[in-house]
Amino acid sequence: MFKRKKNRFIETIVETLLRFSGGITTLTILLISIFLFTEGWGLFNSSTVEKGYILCVNKSNPVKNLTPTQIKEIFDGNITSWKQVGGSDIPIVPLRMDDVASMYTEEEIGTEFEHLPAKLSEAIEKEPGALGFFPEQFIDIKFMGRVLPAETITLKEYFTGKEWYPTATPASQFGLLPLLLGTLWVSLGAILLALPFGMAVAIYMAEIANNRVRKILKPVIELLAGIPSVVYGFFGLIVIVPLIRSLFNLPVGETALAGSIVLAIMALPTIITVAEDAMRTTPLAMKESSLALGATHWQTIYKVIIPYASSGIMAAIVLGIGRAIGETMAVLMVTGNAAVIPHTFTEPVRTIPATIAAELGEASVGSVQYQALFMLGAILFVLTLGISIWAEIIRKEPQSD
């Protein structure tokens, strides 16, 4: 009697513990995603101009505001006349603080920069075509220029922007498009390469290989999944990249294709394991009846086993895509990371995870760039979440006929 009570007591404790750890896991995931979105969302309230700085023009200048792209083009020297941005036909003279400082002697500016506000004001007033980029703290009430209103980054600019210059001054460019397309492009390539190969190995392992071969092959393939991704990256950089360059006679070997090949190798274990497991669940009775009806082994495979396992195979594909989209280190090393919209597989691309990994460490915490990177993380999260849900739906789909 006592013993049974004790057992019951332990059972309750174990049950509570299990429930508790389940709850903790859910809570952690929830907190992480909330954290991602709250950190990232601040981006859309931030100014495109670096914090603590303002842009200003001469009072006589009719231009009311400039888009971030225009600002960048002006300071890069690609837009040279106010006419091109809707003003009068006078050349644009970009003025940074250093430019103004070099116009005057140290004595004129003062050792504590006490005369700098007056000098900045003077420089802007003197030059009708000036576009000043000055620290806010040196702008006082007597300032003779007109400060351009600070514009916030809009959703449209972020999602349709074609340029990614997170540290450009005065105006950073946060265009998601090249990164998002780069990610999808590399993943698509990876799955196109991994699918036929993975399926072939899965069929071989499930149906053709004898027990001894399978016992060796299966751990070997699972071992592939255990190799650190940076090792794949090195392998890609030193072996695959030069190979692609000489094979296609390209100027550069760091391309989307190199990324796809490395990712395909990395996605293989997932695809093979899940697809093989799905095929092996085919009931023996079904296989035997097919064979008994006179079908050959191969006919049985593609008429009975593959259709039966189709939902599992689809899940394998989707999980493989998920693996490819989220992969960071290997891609970072072999795709060249050029933030341009890809048109072919033989061009360098930049993916979202690679961007986050490369930039987050050096970004100043809480800055616009930091927020933009968290937003990237949030987008990646939504992307992989969608894929996992898709995989779950496919897996649970009831067998048709």
Binding site: Y165, V252, G361, E362, V365, S367
Partner: protein, 271 residues
């Protein structure tokens, strides 16, 4: 019981770590600071220093939050980081501890051996796209750069590109080693790395910052003599209030012994 002692030991380690002086920041400065700290601790057994990397931005963030005593940086402090320190009631102090020269490198098969600053600017901003435009073979130029947030990237942009942006199709690599590997296997490649990292697999370019009158070879001697133009400072930053506690180590780094270590690690000492 064993686990209990283990966790006790862990707590002790963590506690002793919080007593130690923390140095955090730029990965460029990291190997140097580690070497300095190692020798310093050997000389002063009572001193405890922990050096960790992460990046210049991470170092500054830790300094603002007060979780590090010294921030290592390969770029100077940004305006908003400085403002944040002031808002937190801290004043940042900057010490230049060493210098680092950047070398422009190309593939060994490239015939071009010297470039002017203007040509470098045009190459990295995408205005020159073929080697024949600068006296080389008819070959597409592939420009490699460090990642956008790296201090090296910022310095090269400010100093060589005169604050213009790199072209959008520039290939950016996560590490110096990767740049060297890529350039050594791509015939049309050009890039820039710290002088100490240059290997025999790549070719160094002579640069001219006076419009082609004098081309200077990237050597340690030329950089120290002030002849070679692409040299950047490496920094330590700390809170002025904590000066008394960090000063012994900073002084050691600046001393003749500390500066001798800098040459050993491969950077340029101040003298």
């Amino acid at each position: 019981m064993k686990r209990f002692f283990l966790s006790l030991a862990m707590i002790a380690i963590i506690a002793s770590m919080s007593m130690a002086q923390k140095i955090k920041g730029s990965d460029t400065v990291l190997p140097l600071a580690q070497k300095e700290a190692e020798v310093y601790m050997k000389k002063n057994p009572s001193a405890k220093l922990t050096v960790t990397g992460g990046g210049s931005g991470i170092g500054f963030a830790a300094l603002i939050e007060g979780t590090t005593d010294i921030a290592m940086a390969s770029r100077s402090i940004k305006f908003d980081e400085k403002m944040k320190m002031q808002n937190g009631g801290k004043t940042s102090k900057q010490v230049i501890i060493a210098k680092d020269a950047l070398t422009v490198i190309v593939n060994p098969s490239n015939k071009v051996s010297k470039l002017t600053r203007e040509q470098l600017e045009a190459i990295f901003t995408g205005k020159i796209t073929n080697w024949k435009q600068v006296g080389g073979a008819d070959l597409t130029i592939t420009a490699y750069s460090r990642e956008t947030t790296s201090g090296t990237y910022e310095f090269f942009k400010e100093h060589v590109l005169k604050n213009k942006n790199y072209k959008s199709g520039i290939l950016s690599m996560p590490a110096t080693g990767a740049i060297i590997q890529s350039i050594s296997q791509t015939p049309g490649a050009i890039g820039y790395v710290g002088m100490a990292y240059v290997t025999k697999n790549v070719k160094e370019i002579l640069v001219s910052f006076d419009g082609g009158k004098n081309y200077v070879e990237p050597t340690v001697a030329n950089s120290k003599a002030g002849k070679y133009p692409i040299v950047r400072p490496l920094y330590f930053y700390y809170d002025a209030k904590k000066e008394a506690s960090v000063k012994p180590f900073v002084n050691f780094v600046l001393s003749a012994e500390g500066q001798a270590l800098i040459d050993k690690v491969g950077y340029l000492s101040l003298k």
